[in-house]
């Protein structure tokens, strides 16, 4: 079943065309890597697919519903309820402890603090970061930070997990560990995964590769 679909998506920042007519489909439950050299538009594609931004033209469909023309409120709700997002390092709230960071999406969704904390602790345990629950981001190593970020993305049991260079600043062994965790957790939760990366070894963790070059798709679209 097709879960995510882009049809002729175009996006420009000022004069530079970030995406020029990208079309693709992502099946439910598959893991896809979007690769390409820097500046190829892969992050922009991720932002369009996840409803963080709207393309200038073209359509984005999720679960049979067009999402690019939804208003910001509806897209916010979609991101909150159906999507989980993992960024590079340094995107956790620095003043909050790890467990509070993980609980945040639940709190935004209106759950009580005690309940959110319990769920968050469970997720931290799942990614092997239960021991740093009370630490603040500045006290954590790169690998621990990414574990917490993954726990935060997973905490609402999302249907799709988007990851933007999730191993960006980690050495290869730590990066692989984090990636295996992400993939394992996604599989356990039957979530679809979309990873943006410039690293071929990261791409090899996904079922399929989508290659972007200068904002357009090249090859790799065959499953």
């Amino acid at each position: 079943m097709t879960l995510l679909e882009a049809r002729h998506v175009e996006k420009a920042f000022g004069r530079t065309h970030a995406l020029r007519g990208v079309s693709l489909t992502i099946e439910s439950g598959e893991t896809v890597a979007i690769t390409g050299p820097s500046g190829s538009g892969k992050s922009t594609l991720l932002h369009c697919l996840s409803g963080i931004m709207s393309p200038e033209s073209g359509e984005v469909h999720y679960a049979g519903r067009r999402i690019d023309d939804l208003d910001e409120t509806a897209r916010t709700r979609l991101r909150r309820e159906d999507f989980g997002i993992v960024f590079q390092l340094d995107r956790l709230v620095p003043e909050l402890t790890a467990v509070e960071n993980v609980a945040l999406p639940l709190l935004f969704a209106g759950r009580g603090r005690a309940e959110a904390t319990t769920v968050a602790l469970g997720r931290l345990d799942e990614v092997g970061a239960a021991d740093v629950a009370e630490s603040r981001p500045a006290e954590l190593s790169g690998g621990q930070l990414q574990r917490v970020a993954i726990a935060r993305a997973l905490v609402t049991t999302p249907k799709v997990i988007f990851a933007d260079e999730p191993t960006g600043a980690l050495d290869s062994v730590a990066g692989e560990r984090v990636l295996s965790l992400l993939m394992g957790a996604a599989r356990a939760n039957k979530a679809t995964v979309v990873i943006v990366t410039h690293d071929n070894q990261v791409a090899a963790h996904a079922d399929r590769e989508i290659v972007l070059r200068d904002g357009a798709l090249v090859g790799g679209v065959m499953a």
């Binding site: 963080i52 910001e72 916010t76 960024f87 995107r91 003043e95 945040l104 999406p105 935004f108 993305a153």
Partner: protein, 447 residues
């Protein structure tokens, strides 16, 4: 030294937009400080008795106090200057420390930094002095010919005031960058882990004890036989109230944030409280000024109510005085709010990527805006609340004998406190556009 000046001249043309904003804001702060110092000097330069409508500056006896009152407005300006100096301090340090790679010694870099801030401060002082003199010229044309109010700022005093502003602004500007540490290879932020101190609150103990005791004695019917010494002690202890409020504002902000953070049930409150807990000092600095205005405002309210209570028709002297003091309080709150606004801009600039990531993860812009508003509330409510309470307790004796008019004093105090809270919240509302820019998806781009 000549080479350094050349480099400083070259550097003057560069800088990121926030850095240029810092230069402008610091110049405005220096100009304001010059204004108030000129105003105070102008008052002191007056001679003889003037028309009663001039209020507190009409009488030679109250001129010293008036000049001091105007000079007190330097407090919020100092907070504003300091906060402006911190704006984009990381950018500045990065730019300057890059010179180290080009062969500059640490001392030369410090001198270059000093030249930069001094230049900005001097620009502000000159603009302030010029605009003051122009406005004075215009105002004096309205005075009847031969008026005794027609006096200049003594040139020597004026120059001294400008020099003072330049030196103070330059020192403040240099110290404002202290939270970032620069090496030739990069800039790191120094985490200020030490929470603010609470000792300032101790200063509230003497006035509150003394006045509660007096109140109690009055209630027992034993009032009215205080010696002059006791009265002087009571008056002196009053001064401790605003000092205590100013010294402990940062601690109160920190304490309230921690208290709320532990109990927060919603994401917005949690984020607001924790951010504030980590960042209590700047809020404390601005709110210290607000606390000061609340306690001074309560005193003014008491005097006003006294007049009305005894049914006296206030003469022009008092009317002008009340208006001027209220105006000064308003100016103080506005300048303090401006300092907060600058701080808010800096913190949004710095926290942009984190906030953008929160938004991407499903927090709406409205919710993030609520975080800012709650920050304003958590910080300002305790400071303003304590300011109202402490002021009313110490003035309780006076308030109690006013009968129904005491409502005016209490109302005035609450109004000032409310104004402080409203100002803090308004600041967060004013940061809306900046927040929107900070969380724009473009800020998420890493490639």
């Amino acid at each position: 030294m000549r080479a350094l000046l050349t480099v400083a001249g070259m550097l003057g043309h560069g800088g990121s937009p926030p850095e240029r904003a810092r230069v402008r804001l610091m110049a405005v702060g220096a100009a304001l400080a010059t204004w108030f110092l000129f105003g105070a000097a102008n008052v002191l330069a007056l001679h003889g008795q003037l028309d009663q409508r001039f209020g507190p500056i009409a009488d030679p006896g109250t001129r010293g106090g008036s000049a001091f009152g105007i000079a007190l407005l330097l407090l919020p300006v100092a907070a504003f200057l300091y906060q402006s100096g911190r704006l984009a301090a990381a950018d500045r340090e990065r730019r300057l420390s890059a010179l180290r790679l080009a062969g500059a010694t640490p001392r030369e870099v410090r001198v270059l930094g000093a030249i930069e801030v001094t230049r900005t401060a001097a620009l502000g002082a000159v603009v302030g002095a010029a605009s003051y003199l122009l406005l004075q010229l215009a105002a004096r044309s309205l005075l009847p010919p031969g008026s005794r109010a027609d006096v200049d700022v003594p040139p020597l005093w004026g120059l001294a005031a400008m020099a003072l502003v330049i030196v103070a602004a330059a020192i403040s500007g240099m110290r404002a960058g202290g939270h970032v540490i620069a090496t030739p290879l990069g800039v790191t932020r120094r985490a200020n882990v030490r929470p603010p101190r609470w000792y300032g609150l101790l200063l509230l103990v003497p006035p509150c004890t003394i006045y509660l005791a007096v109140w109690l004695l009055a209630a027992l019917g034993d009032a009215g036989f205080f010696s002059d010494g006791a009265r002087l002690l009571m008056t002196l202890s009053l001064v401790l109230v605003p000092v205590a409020l100013m010294r402990s504002a940062a601690w109160m902000v920190w304490f309230a944030a921690r208290w709320v953070g532990r109990r927060a049930g919603s994401a917005e409150t949690l984020l607001a409280a924790r951010a504030l807990e980590a960042d209590a000092r700047p809020w404390g600095r601005a709110l210290a000024v607000v606390g000061l205005t609340v306690s001074v405002g309560t005193g003014v309210g008491l005097v006003e109510a006294d007049f009305l209570a005894i049914g006296r028709h206030p003469d022009p002297f008092w009317v002008t005085s009340f208006v001027l003091v209220s105006l000064a309080l308003l100016v103080a709150i506005v300048v303090a709010a401006a300092a907060l606004l600058v701080h808010q801009a800096e913190s949004l600039l710095e926290r942009g990527p984190v906030l953008a990531a929160l938004r991407a993860g499903g927090a709406s812009e409205r919710e993030l805006r609520r975080v800012l508003t709650r920050q304003g509330l958590i910080a300002s409510v305790p400071v303003c609340g304590l300011a109202v309470a402490a002021s009313l307790v110490t003035l309780a004796g006076g308030v109690a004998i006013q009968g129904v008019w005491s409502l005016l004093t209490i109302g005035h105090s609450l109004l000032m406190g409310g104004l402080g809270v409203v100002a803090a919240v308004l600041v967060t509302t004013a940061s809306r556009r900046r927040l929107r820019r900070a969380i724009a998806p473009e800020r998420l781009r890493t490639e």
